[in-house]
């Protein structure tokens, strides 16, 4: 029984290591194919589908996140007479962590699943084979445009998230916590700087790339059948979210030492 469990654990570890290796190889192939012939039309189509169409849900999520963070922050800060720091605290949290990470998570759920499902269904209907037979590299044709689209659009979404999150905080701070507009925005000016924004955008570029690569990988390696498609989409979302959270810690360490 113990040996069986150990074998099962060993198999899972080996599988994880193999998957990590294959994902790394796919990433290197994508980066290699960036220098090849790129179709701007394909990239723009993906930017529209993956980026622009994700804006409503990102705005909604981050608006309410900004509002609730301010609610909780204001409660504590007002108790200790630190209401003049509420704006700054909310802005720094939003710019450095909440906007890039939560935007990444929302987009991973929406876009990561969509990419995996699309590529998986292309695989099971032999469309990937058809591309190869027609002398088209599936990585250059399918993966690279999605990688570029996600890496470009996620920072754009994060910019919108930064604005809407801060505005959401402003609404709660002024209408509910009784903090003046001047105090709120002055606090942001004092505590937040441009590097907080750029650090968040650098994270967003990385997260966008992760979502695209993981989605394409899970789609290309999915098993046949409806169950295979389901597993691929779930695995794409879960893996992307885990990598976003883990890498966020290390990126924060690197960027905000």
């Amino acid at each position: 029984m113990f040996v069986r469990n150990l074998e099962s654990l060993g198999r899972k570890v080996l599988q994880s290591v193999e998957n990590s290796g294959r994902i790394t190889m796919l990433t290197l192939q994508v980066l290699y194919n960036l220098r090849g012939r790129l179709k701007a039309r394909h990239v723009l189509q993906q930017m529209l589908h993956l980026g622009v169409d994700s804006l409503p849900i990102v705005l909604l999520t981050i608006l309410f996140t900004g509002m609730v963070i301010t609610l909780q922050t204001a409660h504590g800060f007002i108790k200790y007479g630190a209401q003049s720091r509420v704006g700054g605290a909310v802005a720094v949290s939003m710019l450095r962590e909440l906007a890039p990470v939560l935007t990444g998570v929302v987009v991973a759920g929406r876009v990561g699943a969509a990419i995996a499902a699309e590529i998986c269904s292309m695989k099971v209907t032999e469309q990937l084979d058809a591309l190869r037979v027609m002398a088209v590299n599936p990585i250059q044709y399918l993966v690279v445009p999605r990688f570029l689209a996600c890496s470009i659009m996620l920072p754009v979404l994060v910019i919108f998230a930064d604005v809407i999150g801060t505005l959401g905080g402003y609404l709660v701070a002024t209408l509910y916590a009784g903090i003046s507009s001047f105090t709120y925005f002055n606090s942001i000016k004092l505590f937040a700087d441009a590097y907080d924004v750029t650090g968040g955008l650098i994270k967003a570029v990385f997260f966008g790339g992760v979502i695209a690569i993981i989605g394409c990988y899970k789609g290309m390696t999915a098993e046949a059948g409806a169950e295979g498609v389901g597993r691929a989409t779930t695995a794409s979302v879960v893996s992307s979210i885990i990598i976003i959270f883990i890498s966020n810690y290390f990126l924060s360490m690197l960027l905000y030492r």
Partner: protein, 254 residues
């Protein structure tokens, strides 16, 4: 044109092809028949380089392809076309975009010239005016014909067909067989067709190779295959219950 030499193929730890030797001459139509799971589609995928054999050599147009990189294989694939069993049309594109796909990716032709070729190819397969239709609006037979129109758009020298008449009614199967023959007549292609429909095989083949249990057990012209003394061949082409049926019983079945 195509030469398979001592091909052995393993898949997920199980050997599925044993010492396959097969030569397809330029301009001929070689039909590969055999029971389901005998390795027919695997052979097609080996010829076009979608799979690599465990052992052996594959020569296509004088070039050995098993050791080639994907980039070099792509250069050879520009002269090849394939019709997939379930058509494999790109479902995010219209019929016209599917047929013109190869031309847009690999040539510098203008949109007008590409549209002309697309119209001509669709006319050839009896689907004039369907350029703006989406694949999910087509029947199985129509999808197959679009797939053929797409495969011949780059004027290939080698055509591969994976069960081109599978799932089609007899009338549509006959139409696909006639298209296969006219493609050969007009373009002079070398064709390899995988099928287990004997009516199709006899209608289009110059030679037939039967594969059974991963081995080629017989190669010959249509007449030679019909007269074959191999009981497995006779069982397959007549759809008999067992290979041990006597010649008298076989005549009764016909």
């Amino acid at each position: 044109m195509i030469n398979l030499i001592n091909i052995n193929m393993d898949f997920r730890g199980k050997q599925i092809l044993y010492d396959i030797n097969l030569k397809v001459e330029q301009g001929e139509t070689m039909v590969i028949i055999g029971p389901s799971g005998s390795g027919k589609s695997t052979l097609l995928r080996l010829i076009i380089g979608l799979l690599k054999p465990t052992d052996g050599e594959i020569w296509v147009k004088g070039q050995e392809i098993t050791g080639l990189s994907e980039d070099h294989l792509n250069k050879i694939r520009l002269n090849m076309g394939m019709v997939f069993q379930y058509s494999a049309l790109f479902d995010s594109m219209t019929v016209g975009e599917n047929v013109g796909f190869g031309l847009r990716e690999h040539t510098d032709l203008s949109e007008t010239e590409i549209n002309k070729i697309v119209s001509r190819n669709l006319r050839m397969v009896g689907l004039s005016g369907r350029e703006n239709v989406m694949p999910n609006e087509l029947s199985g037979g129509m999808k197959k014909r679009v797939s053929l129109a797409r495969a011949i758009a780059m004027k290939p020298q080698v055509m591969l067909y994976d069960e081109p008449t599978a799932g089609l009614d007899p009338i549509m199967s006959g139409a696909i067989d006639r298209l296969t023959n006219s493609t050969k007549r007009i373009l002079g292609v070398t064709s390899v067709v995988v099928t287990h429909q004997m009516s199709s095989a006899f209608a289009i083949a110059d030679r037939i190779a039967m594969i059974h249990g991963g081995r080629i057990i017989e190669v010959g012209t249509v007449a030679e295959i019909k007269q074959s003394e191999n009981p497995l061949v006779q069982q397959f082409i007549h759809g008999l219950k067992s290979p041990n049926v006597s010649a008298k019983k076989r005549r009764e079945v016909l």
